[in-house]
């Protein structure tokens, strides 16, 4: 029943990279489109640099469950140094999407992870962030890449949310720079 | 004394009557009685500061006596007095003496 059209996404990052914010912005973009959402973090101690996970759940109907996401439809990895610490593809659906912030190709990532299932996407989100925001905060470009990979929300919807949400918090200039980062990521994400 | 039932007591053990401790005569606890020698007293009020029952009587800037209705005979006044102006005597002896004089 409620499981129809349920999309579950897991975000892997390090404290300070904005994975939690990314999980929330994507959720709000879905809300803009009249859908239901949950976004929640899974912290240990909240420390800069510590590995963290965050989750986004998006559905056409009210989301009842509050259990953790174990079989995500998509996984976003904000930092490839996490590969050596954990299996980022754990539980990823066979037809799911793995989206990685890297300058390498999807084939390289597939090889590095010995992955023979799922779709793999790569984008140099850190570089895009440095170009557009002046700092390596790869979370917003990674939202663009996740949207490209999953189509879970529309490109226009996520851009509108970025402009509104970040506009009130960071000001118009930074919001525009973030929107630009999302657009670039959307265009530059490669599939393989 | 007839005590109130649970439905009749004010909730939260709030006491609504101010100064109700006046009815509690702690003087009945006393086994030793302070005897104040006004000849020695310098009216420094150290006893007045220390007395836990506020029993040191004062009038016109002078110590005048000790309120035996509330004095429980703890002897702090006697111990603290720099002039040794307060002696503690056995309450029973003091009462007997009072009776003999009376």
């Amino acid at each position: 029943m409620s499981a129809e059209k349920l999309v579950e996404i897991r975000w892997h990052g390090r404290g300070g990279q904005g994975a939690v914010t990314a999980s929330e912005i994507l959720a709000e973009a879905a809300w803009e489109e009249g859908r239901y959402f949950q976004a929640f973090p899974d912290y240990g101690g909240e420390r800069m640099g510590a590995p963290i996970r965050a989750y986004t759940r998006i559905s056409d109907s009210y989301i009842l469950q509050h259990s953790q996401i174990v079989n995500p439809d998509a996984v976003a990895v904000l930092d490839t140094t996490l590969f050596s610490l954990m299996d980022v593809t754990e539980g990823l659906k066979d037809d799911g999407a793995l989206v990685v912030n890297t300058s390498e190709s999807p084939a390289d990532i597939r090889k590095a992870l010995k992955l023979d299932k799922a779709r793999v996407y790569t984008v140099d989100a850190s570089r895009i962030a440095v170009d557009t925001l002046g700092r390596d905060i790869p979370n917003t470009p990674m939202i663009g890449a996740i949207v490209k990979a999953t189509g879970v929300v529309s490109r226009e919807g996520v851009l509108r949310t970025i402009r509104e949400r970040l506009g009130t918090r960071l000001g118009k200039t930074m919001a525009e720079a973030n929107a630009k980062a999302v657009e670039r990521a959307f265009d530059e994400t490669q599939q393989g | 004394m007839q005590l109130k039932g649970w439905k009749d007591l004010a909730i939260g053990a709030v006491m609504l009557e101010p100064g109700s401790c006046l009815a509690y005569e702690t003087g009945s606890w006393r086994t030793q009685r302070p005897i104040l020698d006004l000849e020695k007293c310098a009216h420094c009020f150290i006893c007045w500061i220390f007395c836990p029952e506020s029993s040191i009587q004062v009038r016109g800037g002078k110590v005048t006596g000790i309120d035996l209705t509330y004095c429980k005979g703890c002897g702090i006044c006697s111990a603290e007095c720099p002039r040794q102006a307060i002696d503690m005597v056995m309450e029973a002896t003091a009462r007997k003496g009072a009776k003999d004089e009376g």
Binding site: P41, E46, S67 | W6, P18
Partner: protein, 398 residues
């Protein structure tokens, strides 16, 4: 009936939603100390204070013992006082919890449930508030973030009802609700203000025309009588929780009772639980009902006072019942919720077959598949007529 108020849909984290309710309540005094996972309540509310959005006297205390003491002093002075805490913070308050209820002060405390040390754990279970279940506080547990916000508002009315005058804990699951970002409906400020009304204390330490004494010594002559009054107030609180929940529903369309039943009436197999797990259980029920299984949920919204009659009435006709505890009573025959449910059924009967489960200790997740397993267990119990002895510990590694 008056026209329902339309709320404003907003996206917030659970802690922020509670802070928002506190802003709208605008308490006279908030004395609080930050602790994970409640920190965001105090932090967000602190910003409201700094921005001048509330009139509250905010006291940044040095510990939770002090925060409850501060609330007690403020409430005895006739102020509307609130605080918030979690896990070890609640444990440190324990002495003062009894003082608050014993003095009959209508303090509202927002509890974000967290496991107790040791070992140190910041995530959710219910041992903090369950450990305080005998302290004379009304306890509400939210199933959703919306309910956490709604309960925070209703708690004020319940606490301050002249025939109740008891402190209230409004609990929600740490992280699972407290840190989850979700859409909820926030009522207009004016609506909340009108709903909670003005607190008119019967006595105030600041009223020099009518001096009173709080906190006197009472020995065996009268102490028992004051405790008997608290028992009566707690019984009355059950009516008031219902009455306030009804009134809140008339206003917002969201009605609240002492318990919530989901697909319960015609169910053969029921799970009894507290807190956010209710949502996950509902999802499982939807799936199993789709397969023709008659399964249902009874979620306790109010644990103190315990709604024994309602629970017994809702469960008496079931073939088998599972009671899910998210707290532990070491050495007991069963855990806290199970004991209450069992005695409710014993006194109000009939008594279905019951199995006690423990789940979610120290933040351990409980998956839909495991909940489905509980229903399967119940079906087997009903089939064989055999209730396995002892408590079942879900999702613990062997």
């Amino acid at each position: 009936m008056r026209v329902k108020v339309k709320g404003k849909p907003v996206a917030l984290r659970g802690d922020e939603a509670v802070a928002e309710a506190m802003r709208q309540i605008n308490p006279d005094v908030v004395a609080a100390y930050p602790i994970t996972p409640q920190t965001e309540i105090v932090q967000t509310f602190g910003q409201f204070v700094a921005n001048g959005q509330v009139d509250t006297e905010f006291v940044a205390v040095e510990s939770e013992h002090a925060s409850m003491s501060g609330c007690i002093g403020a409430a005895a002075s006739g102020a509307r006082a609130q605080t918030a805490t979690s896990g070890p913070g609640l444990a440190l308050m324990w002495e003062m919890l009894w003082v608050a209820s014993g003095m009959r002060l209508p303090i509202v405390m927002h509890v974000v449930n967290r496991a107790l040390s040791a070992p140190i754990n910041i995530t959710c279970d219910h041992n903090d508030s369950m450990g305080a279940r005998d302290c004379g506080w009304v306890q509400l547990y939210a199933g959703t973030m919306q309910e956490a916000y709604d309960n925070a508002i209703q708690a004020v009315r319940i606490a301050e009802h002249p025939e109740v005058m008891l402190p209230v804990m409004s609990c929600m699951d740490g992280f699972i609700l407290g840190h989850t970002f979700e859409p909820i409906e926030i009522l207009p400020d004016e609506t909340v203000k009108e709903f909670i009304g003005t607190y008119k204390p019967k006595h105030s330490l600041l009223d020099v025309e009518h001096p009173v004494t709080y906190g006197s010594v009472v020995f065996h002559e009268c102490y028992y009588e004051y405790k008997r009054q608290q028992i009566a107030a707690m019984e009355k609180a059950a009516d008031v929780v219902l009455q306030v929940g009804q009134e809140f529903g008339d206003l917002t369309g969201r009605y609240y009772g002492l318990i919530e039943g989901y697909e319960l009436e015609d169910a053969d197999f029921a799970i009894v639980a507290i807190g956010s797990i209710g949502g996950t259980i509902k999802k499982v029920i939807n799936d199993l009902r789709g397969q023709g299984q008659k399964v249902g949920l009874l979620r306790l919204r109010c644990f103190r006072p315990f709604p024994a009659q309602e629970v017994a009435q809702a469960l008496g006709n079931k073939r088998a019942v599972a009671v899910l505890d998210r707290s532990l009573s070491f050495g007991a025959q069963a855990h806290q919720l199970q004991m209450e449910v069992a005695y409710a059924l014993l006194t109000h009967g009939p008594i279905p077959k019951m199995v006690n489960y423990v789940y979610g200790i120290g933040g351990r997740d409980l998956l839909p598949s495991e909940i489905e397993g509980v229903y399967r267990d119940l079906m087997e119990v009903a089939e064989t007529g055999i209730v396995p002895p002892g408590v079942r510990y879900l999702s613990v590694r062997q």
